[in-house]
Symmetry: C2
Subunit: 300 residues, 2 copies
């Protein structure tokens, strides 16, 4: 008799796979369902796509109770924006659900929403709807619609053996508050998608060590990373650069034939580093040190 | 010195108004933002609209901890579907956020998702994405996209003095478990919108006594209700029919010139009752008994 699965053994991703295993959306309307950074819905006309994402931040899990309210609102939207960036989409509109304890301070809530509004304005997100509900602890759920007009979103599944592996920015260092202040790489992601430079892309939310294997698996490929090529945040160890969650940088793959174009034409201040190469399916994948990323359910 | 606002004095709707007061979405892209049952985004082409909604159910607030899991999942999606119905839209796709305590039973979660899948299938909703997060208490957030193709959604704000006030189904009686098993009036709502019969519409979630004044306010009109015309659920008192929340029936207004067409052509088994008439702005509005609907934050 097998023991029933528990959350701790499944982990967040295992649980999600289990719960959504039977979801089979209509492929004429939904080219991409569960399993990528966002769902993709077919828009009207050729090369028009709507992207759809939901994500929540919960007090005590994604932010500390005494965190600055503006940064809580900022983070809630920035996380979802990072998922749009990961597919190369531009944001269109968001709706917000606020779960709030009965004796919550209205001043704090106003601060949270001020942070939300500020980042929405910065990245051109229309805040179009909201709900509030009572809850024991504060949570903020963001649902976000984005769009690709005239080009296709970049999936996790498009990497081929031989493609170079690249990341934006620097990895590791969530202890320094980066997880509250990161810039979602929307312009960078859109550029990589529009120019058809990235063959596969995702954002780094659980750490390179957990996320790259997901991209490789979705693509049916393996990977090799060169330790010293990984760009580290100031004071981040190699271990931290691989294992810290919440980098919110882009991880993407580039065919060698387009790497030169990327280097020459990349128009952003954000650095890009090549850190490895994709291999054929079944080959041994390698990190310079064996470990895993951040998972809210697992005990480390 | 005025005391700072508290949640109890604001109520859910007051809080939402306060938090979203500065949201000004781009009117070229977003004809309707906060304040109606769903947000409305302009689609590609004439008379194409996307509707966007977010809504959460929280353990202990929207369902009892020991409730049948299938009914929890069912309710989470049905509530959001009811909001689409309230504008006459057809559902397209949903994404789900699950907040879950560390020691939650996986079997229970599977039951919740089975309920979700069953109602999604029944009403043609593509389940396209999900996230899970740790939380102290179970919550399930549904974000939903719907569409109106070839006709305009019905807003709360379109009622005119002289329009008849109508409701589907029967009101009151949430104690009998109706709040878990109600049928969102999607076909009825779409018919009323497509045929241009309803001038204003919303769903009854907080009770007629709380919701009708909102429709009247949005329309800049008053209302008069005839007590004995209100259709009551079996065993529901008049007080319950006016004040019980979670009816999830449609409340809508119909110009007298279209009432005959409605009576003759209504193709559904769901009953429709005329319960009153809209008056001019500033006139005294009247319920047969003065009271208010359900608000999670207020103490009654």
């Amino acid at each position: 008799m097998s023991a029933p699965a528990s959350l701790a053994t499944l982990g967040e991703n295992g649980l999600l796979r289990l719960l959504t295993a039977r979801w089979k959306p209509d492929p004429r309307k939904v080219p991409v369902g569960v399993g990528d950074d966002c769902a993709v819905l077919r828009g009207e006309g050729k090369n028009r796509f709507l992207l759809f994402k939901t994500d929540a931040v919960v007090e005590g899990v994604h932010f500390r109770p005494r965190e600055k309210p503006e940064l809580i609102g900022r983070k809630a939207l920035a996380r979802a924006l990072s998922d749009l960036a990961a597919m190369g989409a531009a944001p269109l509109a968001a709706v917000i659900t606020l779960g709030v304890a009965k004796h919550e301070s209205v001043r704090r809530l106003k601060g949270i929403y001020a942070g939300l509004e500020k980042i929405a304005k910065k990245y051109g997100v229309n805040l179009v709807g909201g709900e509030t509900t009572r809850a024991k602890e504060l949570f903020l759920n963001v649902a976000l619609i984005g769009e690709c007009r005239g080009y296709a979103p970049v999936l996790r599944s498009g990497a081929k053996a031989g493609d170079l592996i690249a990341v934006t920015g620097q990895l590791g260092g969530t202890q320094s508050g980066k997880h509250l202040r990161f810039a979602p790489r929307l312009a960078e992601g859109e550029w990589l998608a529009r120019k058809k430079i990235a063959t596969a892309m995702m954002d780094l939310s659980d750490g390179l060590g957990a996320d790259l294997p997901r991209l490789a698996k979705a693509s049916g490929a393996s990977f090799q990373i060169e330790a010293k090529a990984i760009p580290r945040s100031p004071n981040a160890s190699l271990h931290a650069a691989i294992n810290d969650g919440e980098d919110y940088e882009l991880l993407f793959t580039v065919p060698p034939s387009r790497a030169e174009k990327l280097k020459k034409e990349w128009p952003f201040a954000t650095p890009v580093h090549f850190i490895g190469v994709m291999g054929r399916r079944g080959a041994r994948s390698g990190f310079p040190t064996g470990t895993y990323g951040f998972d809210h359910f697992k005990q480390h």
